[in-house]
């Protein structure tokens, strides 16, 4: 206000009993009646409050605020149903007899088992008993064990709630439950053990099948592919002696060679002499004699060979044919003992036939000669 009018108005507005009121002049009345023009000093736009669209503002079920002013329910508050606080007055619930949760409770459908009921169990399954069972049975048994353990865990907590924690031991039953649980765990351990054993057997078989040349693990049996493809005996030399022959036959400087012969060395060609050449060593002569596997025959043959066997030339080999069933190692040893020098024993059928293959086991007293003979024979007869 203007200072002049302010001072005038102040004297007029402030009531004072002592002072005589000074009424303003009549020409000043419009100053009080007409409203003064005002304009807001600040140019900032005033922020008006936005209309709150949230009808549920301030309403909380957790804070028990009750229904909001603007909320309208389909049911009025006084018509809302009240919960039955007293458990005795509540309606009885019909539990489905096939409810899945019954499996967590005792079979008798009580809250907990008595110690006698808990004690009524046998021993767990042993590993020899479980070995007879197939995977499906073992899997089912595992789940039976799991459900029993769940039942025992449920029993444990319910036991505690009922009275198990009263000042220490409280109630009997925990020890029996523990013993029952232990038997269940033994069964589960046995199941795992059996399955592990089976897996290792399968794995070993699989590895052996992969490594075996005659087995084709990728064969499609439905399409007629064969999983087992036995190789013909003629393809490779078949070692019918044992691998320990070399060890059990401790001949010094003994070398054994398994080679295949072609029909050109059939036993019918008795007395046939072939010559094998070795560029390093001297040539080796192989004389073929065919006899049966009988010892007497062998001895007769050796005797007949006479002075040749007694003091054979170092480069002479004798091929002695024996039956298939003969034990080559034994023969070799016998002949080697009789004959000094090189002895060659061939196994094969005594009848000639095309495509017959024979095997030669070379027992040499002299390692050098044996290796030379082997090299020559290889060159002579492609294996």
């Amino acid at each position: 206000m203007h200072c002049t009018s302010a001072s005038l108005l102040r004297s007029a507005l402030i009531p004072s009993a002592s002072r005589t009121t000074i009424l303003p002049a009549a020409f000043l009345i419009p100053a009080f009646t007409t409203h003064p023009q005002t304009a807001p000093f600040s140019s900032t736009p005033i922020a008006h409050a936005r209309k709150d669209g949230n009808r549920a503002r301030g309403v909380s079920a957790l804070r028990h605020t009750g229904i909001g002013k603007k909320q309208k329910l389909s049911v009025s508050v006084k018509d809302l149903p009240q919960p039955v606080r007293d458990p005795q007055r509540r309606s009885k619930i019909d539990v489905d007899p096939d409810h899945g949760l019954w499996d967590f409770l005792p079979t008798a459908r009580t809250a907990i088992r008595t110690p006698d009921e808990l004690h009524a169990h046998g021993r767990g399954w042993t590993v020899p008993e479980l070995r007879h069972k197939d995977w499906d049975d073992l899997h089912r048994l595992w789940w039976v064990c799991i459900k029993e353990r769940n039942r025992l865990a449920t029993q444990h907590y319910e036991h505690e709630r009922i009275g198990g924690m009263d000042g220490g031991s409280g109630m009997y039953g925990e020890h029996e439950a523990g013993a029952r649980d232990q038997e269940v765990r033994k069964t589960m351990k046995g199941i795992r053990h059996c399955l592990t054993e089976r897996w290792y057997a399968w794995e070993n078989a699989r590895v052996a099948g992969m490594e075996d040349g005659e087995v084709d693990l990728y064969a499609d049996l439905e399409r007629g592919e064969a999983a087992y493809l036995p190789r013909e005996r003629g393809d490779e030399p078949v070692f019918l002696g044992s691998e320990d022959d070399a060890r059990t036959d401790p001949g010094e400087g003994v070398e054994t060679l398994y080679i295949n012969l072609y029909p050109n060395l059939s036993p019918s060609k008795d007395g046939q002499t072939i010559e094998v050449y070795d560029p390093i060593a001297t040539s080796i002569t192989i004389t073929i004699h065919s006899i049966s596997s009988k010892m007497s025959d062998i001895n007769d043959t050796l005797k007949a060979l006479g002075p040749q066997t007694a003091t054979p030339t170092p480069n002479t080999a004798f091929v002695v044919f024996v039956n298939d069933d003969a034990y080559v190692g034994h023969m070799a040893k016998h002949i080697r003992n009789r004959m000094q020098g090189l002895a060659v024993i061939a196994k094969g059928p005594l009848t000639e036939g095309d495509g017959d293959a024979f095997q030669i086991r070379l027992c040499a007293a002299d390692r050098k000669v044996a290796s030379a003979c082997r090299a020559s024979l290889r060159r002579r007869m492609p294996l």
């Binding site: 539990v95 459908r109 809250a111 799991i146 319910e158 009263d166 220490g168 409280g170």
Partner: protein, 179 residues
């Protein structure tokens, strides 16, 4: 099962599970809710799958799960005979899950008569053993001696001094006499 599960089943197949679930009675919840104590690493999806495939139980869409941390305590579990001080530790937490059932399940009533579990006998035994344990414990010196025991000891001492009775070894400390 010929029927497909009412939810998307995971890829990992577990044929031989090795954990246990405990079904807990919850009186504060309605009958169509069930609560379980599950392994700490369990998830809601695991529980839903387990209950469906193991127990043929279909549950509502929402599972509530919470982990209950245990208080710090001292000693070992199982507790040895002597009290173990200074071994402060926090035992493993418990995970509880609450599911909504399709059909309600009410627990059977708790047994009123606890004779089969020898509740009375164990209560009596604990009441008798309580003072004895305190006497044998580390604060045994602080336990008071009852007047009956005092008079009994006085009489025994008198009998020994007067020669009416002869001292025999073999009675261990605290046993054979009531406190």
């Amino acid at each position: 099962m010929a029927v497909h599960a009412p939810f998307k089943v995971g890829m990992k197949e577990i044929y031989l599970p090795d954990f246990k679930l405990a079904f807990i009675r919850t009186i504060h919840l309605p009958a169509n809710y069930a609560s379980f104590i599950v392994p700490l690493w369990f998830s809601k999806l695991d529980l839903r799958d387990y209950l469906y495939h193991g127990y043929n139980l279909r549950i509502g869409p929402v599972i509530r799960s919470y982990v209950q941390q245990s208080r710090i305590r001292q000693g070992q579990v199982p507790s040895p005979t002597r009290p173990q001080y200074k071994r402060w530790h926090r035992p493993r937490s418990t995970k509880r899950m609450t599911v909504e059932l399709e059909r309600p399940f009410a627990w059977p009533e708790r047994p009123d008569d606890l004779t089969a579990w020898n509740k009375e006998e164990t209560k009596m035994a604990n009441e008798e053993q309580g003072p004895l344990g305190k006497r044998l414990g580390p604060e045994g010196d602080q336990q008071g001696i009852s007047n009956d025991r005092r008079t009994s000891m006085r009489e025994q001492a008198k009998a020994l001094l007067e020669g009416r009775e002869k001292w025999k070894p073999g009675v261990s400390r605290g046993l054979g006499t009531s406190g």
